[in-house]
Amino acid sequence: MQIRFTPEQEAWRQEVRSFLDRELPPAQAFDTEFDEDEERWAFALEFTRKLGAKGWIGLGWPREYGGLERPAAERFILAEELTYREAPLVNSIGHGLAAGTLLLGGTEQQKRRFLPPIARMETFWVEGLSEPGAGSDLAALTTSARRDGSDWIVRGQKTYTTWGQRGDVMYLAARSDPSSRRHEGLSIFCLDMKAKGVTLSPLDNLGGGRQNHTYLDDVRLPAEMLLGEEGQGWRYIMNAFYGGGGHAAHMYYQRMLDTLVAWCREHRRGGRRVIDDPIVRQELGALAVMVESVRMLMYESVSNAERQRAPAFAGALGTVVMKELRPRFSETLHRIVGPLAQLRPSRFAPFEGLAEAWYRHSYANHAGGTPQVKRMVLATRGLGLPR
């Protein structure tokens, strides 16, 4: 059993911190999921390119595709540092979802074609999975891809397309076998967002981000835009959802907790510092337990990934905890902050209005499936209870 990073790994952490000290002024840190400010986005793209120039986007990939072949623990350290500082690393659909699929099932040609531009931040990927009739039940998707000579013609509608208006290409899940149902016969494609037949309509969300409906009106895709094997789409998607390692969600919560504690030490209420209120202290302790729980789930993910172990409970237990914890964390934080927590930025808003923003963000705990759906997966596939 081992939970301590080696001196070499700690040196790597320092290297990452030095990079961030140089390249990330604190004012430029922002949550790229919920902030559409164009100046910040310009910085984010440039910042991501710089990370790419160091080879850090594809940190764990094989060298021939633009990677550095670094192990899970080092990818984890990078994720911890970036997450804690809210570094605006963009293109998670590219270096996460698309790269994961390519590394799992892509042909040599596909890997060489698609991975290096992701590693260099040259192609911005957006996600094309959910549809109006296929959210939690993703297997019900109906967007079709039919053969026309060597090309594919795609017809259908995607929704909740995060960052759609910024996308160069879409990671598209479509039904390539017309006689198939549910999770059989699905394929993954790289769809050019500038192609004829692709239109967007905006969906602004409660978090402050812009998502989109994406309409695909007989869009033509050349054959080489298929990712991986035809008909294996479901396997690739499940790998992305339940495969582990590399995420450092605990640092997102650690940052919120640290910000809150600092405020509690300075702000006074009822004749004393907020942090001297015994009820607040109990709630802060509860938040600390939440952060440590997430930290251990992330450690477990790395531990499993490095050892090539299948996660316990079909990988669903950690997911349920994360999704249910997010609203609870935010609500506890709001109880501590009190009425000031409703304020958007103004000179009276605690920590620049972040409490208000974090609360709205906490309603975004459904991506990839609701907590209730994940509970079903935990109960049936994880615990063996009958469907």
Binding site: L257, I275, G285, V289, L317, G384
Partner: protein
């Protein structure tokens, strides 16, 4: 270069897994739940023959130094053993005598206690730690039993509660307040039949052998003092921390068994034409148990690893204990909801876990106390 040091690995080492498996096999044969039921009803409240067998397996000295006859196996080994002691719901003096009392004697004591420590390690001597008090508080501040300086030593007056195995203990190890403030605690090792010392049974929900120890002007001299006066605070904090994590291990082991029992019942029991485990509400209850047990396992294992590695572990231990304090209750409550009326009957095994879980929940620092410890550490840490 050892490739393993490059990896975060949460799995117990092979040696600890072996210890765990052999302990499970031994206890499954030697201490089935039917035997627990008998023991709970007995005068002694534990099985002395089993205790002798546990000692013969070197469990009584598992964490104690080799020069005292212990196995010096490290804290993770003790953690692994307690997973199985918890699964089998074994009542034994191990935690009280070999962990808490022994750790206190080792940390605070000198040569005078070495012979006693040797016999604790061999299981021949049981020493009962008398630390908690009737107010029901935790921590050094809660120790109010007075040690008043008199000629020839001290006079001890006050009451200790939840003293485990006082009825069979050779000695009682009393934490007393000899001066004000957190540095004012002294430890005294008293004979059970000391004049003025009265032991009274404390009937409790878990049917564990817990006692009140009343001290009415009990005299203690240099011989009874352990180490130096007013110095025991740090040793107490360390002993409580370790014992708290071992209680977490017991909860994890028991919780895994509760989950197994509950899942089996959910699959076997049919109502309205189908297994009750098919109903979403029942699935939620079962997944609650799995989540609580798994997080308890991860959090306590992290603290245990840090203790084993000699790293500061107060934050992680408090987080593990705070979680366990809530989980202990929640695990059994959700299990009872699945079993419904069947588990309200004493003939059902679940209530054995329910009553023991209440003890674990409240022993050695309940959730409220642990959350305060976390807050205190957050307050003093600064932005990090």
């Amino acid at each position: 270069m050892n490739a393993r040091t490059e990896v975060i690995d949460l799995e117990l080492d092979e040696g600890h897994e072996l210890l765990r498996r052999s302990a499970r096999e031994f206890l499954a044969k030697r201490f089935p739940l039917a035997r627990l039921r008998e023991v709970e009803k007995s005068e002694l409240g534990y099985d002395p023959e089993l205790w002798r067998e546990m000692a013969a397996l070197d469990w009584a000295g598992l964490g104690l130094p080799e020069e005292l006859g212990g196995a010096a196996a490290g804290f993770l080994a003790q953690y692994a053993l307690h997973l199985e002691l918890g699964r089998a719901l074994v009542p034994s003096p191990l935690l009280a005598s070999s962990v808490i009392a022994a750790e206190l004697l080792l940390a605070a004591g000198g040569d005078a206690e070495r012979e006693l420590l040797r016999r604790i390690a061999s299981g021949d001597a049981i020493v009962a730690p008398a630390l908690d008090e009737p107010e029901g508080g935790f921590g050094l501040d809660s120790i109010q039993l007075a040690a008043r300086r008199v000629s020839g030593g001290w006079q001890l007056s006050g009451t200790k509660l939840f003293v485990p195995y006082a009825h069979v203990a050779e000695r009682v190890l009393v934490a007393a307040r000899s001066a004000p403030g957190p540095d004012g605690i002294s430890l005294f090792l008293l004979e059970r039949n000391s004049p003025g010392l009265v032991v009274e049974a404390l009937p409790n929900i878990a049917d564990l052998p817990l006692f009140a120890v009343e001290l009415d002007g009990v005299r203690a001299g240099e011989r009874e003092l352990v180490g130096k006066p007013d110095c025991a605070g740090a040793a107490l904090e360390a002993a409580w921390e370790r014992a708290g994590i071992l209680h977490c291990a017991e909860l994890v082991g028991a919780g895994e068994r509760v989950l197994e029992l509950t899942l089996r019942y959910a699959q076997d029991r049919e109502q309205f034409g189908r297994p009750v485990g098919q109903y979403q509400a029942v699935q939620y209850l079962c997944s609650d148990i799995a989540i609580d047990v798994h997080l308890a396992s991860l959090l306590s294992r992290h603290a245990a690893w840090r203790i084993d590695a000699g790293l500061p572990a107060s934050y992680q231990a408090a987080a593990a204990r705070a979680h366990a304090g809530v989980a202990a209750q929640h695990i059994v409550r959700q299990a009872h909801e699945v079993f419904a009326g069947a588990a309200f009957m004493l003939e059902n095994d679940l209530q054995l876990f329910t009553r023991r879980a209440k003890h674990w929940e409240l022993a050695l620092g309940d959730a409220r106390y642990q959350l305060e410890r976390l807050a205190a550490q957050l307050e003093s840490a600064g932005i990090g």
